[in-house]
Amino acid sequence: MSAITSGISQTPEGAERELENQRDAARGEPPYTPAPSADSRLAASLKDAAMTAAVVAVLTVFFFAFRTDIAVGGLNLTFRWPLWLSWVAIAFAGRFLISYFLFRAPERAVAGVSKSTSVRPAKRFSAGKIFGIVMLLAALALPFILNTLLPSHNRYLLDLAILILTYVMLGWGLNIVVGLAGLLDLGYVAFYAVGAYSFALLAQNFELGFWVCLPMAGFFAAMWGIVLGFPVLRLRGDYLAIVTLAFGEIIRVVLLNWTDFTGGPNGLLGIPKPTLFGLEFKSGAGSFAEATGIPYSPIQRFIFLYYIILALALLTNFITLRLRKLPIGRAWEALREDEIACRSLGINTTNVKLSAFATGAMFGGFAGSFFATRQGFISPESFTFIESAIILAIVVLGGLGSQVGVVIASVVMIGGIELLRNLGFLHALGFDPTEYRMLIFGLAMIAIMVWKPRGLVSSRSPSAIYKEKKKIGADLVAQGEGH
């Protein structure tokens, strides 16, 4: 790629779009070059591999070749040259294969820039819609499917499904703020925490149950959304990001240190479990088992929790889809597209921003109180910045503003990484995947973004139709704050 095409970043939308197309076409190797002969291809790939190996060798020498450990009388330095050399070799081999078979592979006629159409007519039953319906049915039937197919892993997988759904719900909540309204929020976990702590404190101090506290937790989180949203309204882009991050950290530090109220680092214990019309999932009197005559099994509680989070997530989705077609949702999207134009149309952007913050926060609060009731225990540990980052990553990887994208990204990022744990053959190789979980998570974030910068699902469907529904390509859709 020439310096000119790769050196441009702040270009107008149109040029940027063209640039992206060019970049797609040019990824790996400049187009228009004749296919290299096999010899030069091999030599060039070897050269690439040698370069990569050299860089990896220098980068990792202090991390693979040496290791410092606490020992008697200070730090002890151990040498691990074989480890270092084997990673350098892996880098060499990996880069060679990639270069030889991908980057320097004979050109498959990259004849000019392929023009992707930015507008596609959507069919009545689009793939997305069918996919959504299939997923919904699968989600509804999941406990039964698991029960029949994998009874041995039933509980673990159900727990994982609950975890994924929690992230789906959080992703959908944040999608309102980031995807629709275009306000970059790096402190979303604060509202998750507010929801969890509201429920836990209400339950402990006033002996209230889950179903009473749930709306209150959402309400409190929404209030906090407004309180935190108010001062940051005037800020744009990265300033907004950093201030929301700061707010997230402030709330966590306060939770950590206000020991009398929040239990400090020890957190809050004994948070009540949700009940089904007053029936508890346990053995004995007043329980679900007694009332229905179904014999008690611990899995029932998991199934119940699963359906609660599924219902909450679906509610979030339903309300979001509904709001998109209402003036408020359209104003959110208009705000993302152009704030000044919004103001010129008489839209009070303060209210629009606050409503986005509050709505997103409310769903975060719901998810938080579900988290509290599921765990039975909460502490500030669960509400670190990394949670905000994961949720934001899910939204962006899924494709900003896309509801289905959030689901796919959650399943891939949370489910995929979690399933690594179970790859038993890796243990046999002396490789413990759990240790590398976050490492792989980080790598996956980079890889997916480089591969698809606009996220997995990157088209927008219009909220109002005159005659024909057409999908709008992400290249036309603005990304909000930052201009």
Binding site: L323, L326, R330, A334, A341, N348, S355, Y466, I472
Partner: protein, 326 residues
């Protein structure tokens, strides 16, 4: 400038008095006063950098003027005394004898559109590019729909009142799409439209807010002659059928001279001429400002205009010259 009372002074919809805008040490607008007549198309012209867009930004609330009063009068025959009274009362707007008065310099930008009924377009088009043409027009009807949706709650439940309002909004949008020849592009993203269509869409969107005064910032920029002619028709239609007064900034003298009822010429933040097309066209100060100053004409021109004037565009006294320019 005619000393006699002109048509626009009788019943102005907008009256700008002693408007001054300073940015740091730079005075962009200097003690500017003018009227926009009710039901008129008024053009604000002047060389580049004369302060036209700054006037617009003051009128529409994007800038807070350093000094001056900008009063918008809705209703017939509101006298200056009523405006004076409202000014003293310290309120932003209020009802007076025959209508209501809005002191725009006191109001935030979105309120000016929402309450006072001033809509605007932008020099560099500002559409919601990733939203469809129809959606753009629905966003413009936000406030009305917001009330109809019971601030979202009734809308969320899908109550019939909201559904009726939503239908009405869509009908209104479709009406405007018809008038701007955009109906067949209704479901396309706004960013996909050609330039001229984007300009028309921006006007349609501004009209969907239901304004009393429409402010257009260079609506004919980048249009070809056919599109310019269509624009003229559209603006006349807006003025005549919708009872909306139009204030526009324009460099295309063909458009300006043809449709304007009243022209105000700015240079260096000051008004140098104010009158009908014919009056302005023959005003030596205007010619000087646009063309620079000839040796013989020096005496006829004010001293402060004499030094190094820009002469970017060149309307001359003859119509042929105007045509050849564009």
């Amino acid at each position: 400038m005619s000393a006699t009372t002109s048509a626009w002074m009788l019943d102005p919809v907008l009256k700008v008095e002693h408007l001054t805008m300073r940015f740091g040490g730079l005075t962009a607008i200097d003690n500017l006063s003018f009227e926009v007549g009710r039901g008129h198309i008024t053009a604000l012209i002047g060389p580049n950098g004369a302060g036209k867009t700054t006037v617009f930004n003051c009128v529409t609330g994007f800038y807070k003027p350093t000094e001056g009063r900008i009063s918008l009068r809705r209703g017939r025959g509101i006298d200056d005394a009523a405006v004076e009274e409202l000014t003293k009362s310290g309120q932003q707007f209020g009802n007076v004898a025959n209508g209501s008065v809005y002191l725009l310099e006191r109001m935030p930008d979105f309120k000016i559109t929402e309450v006072a009924g001033v809509a605007r377009t932008f020099q560099n088009i500002r559409l919601f590019g990733g939203m469809t043409v129809l959606e753009n027009l629905l966003v413009a009807q936000h406030n009305r729909l917001m009330r109809a949706s019971g601030f979202t709650f009734a809308g969320l439940l899908g109550l019939p009142g909201y559904r009726r309002a939503a239908e009405a909004a869509k009908d209104n949008a479709i009406t405007w799409l018809k008038h701007t020849n955009l109906l067949d592009r209704a479901d396309d993203p706004a960013a996909d439209l050609p330039y001229g269509a984007q300009r028309r869409l921006e006007i349609a969107r501004a009209m969907c807010t239901g304004p009393a005064l429409l402010c257009l910032d260079e609506p004919a920029a980048g249009l070809n002659p056919r599109e310019s002619a269509e624009l003229n028709t559209l603006l006349r239609y807006i003025r005549d059928e919708h009872d909306v007064s139009v204030l526009l900034i324009e460099h295309d003298m063909g458009v300006v001279m043809e449709i304007s009822d009243h022209i105000i010429v700015l240079d260096y933040g000051k008004k140098i001429s104010d009158g009908t097309a014919a009056e302005v066209r023959n005003d030596p100060k205007v010619i000087a400002a646009y063309l620079g100053v000839d040796d013989e004409e020096v005496d006829a021109v004010e001293e402060d205009l004499a030094a190094g004037l820009p002469h970017a565009t060149s309307p001359s006294t003859t119509t042929q010259a105007q045509e050849s320019r564009s």
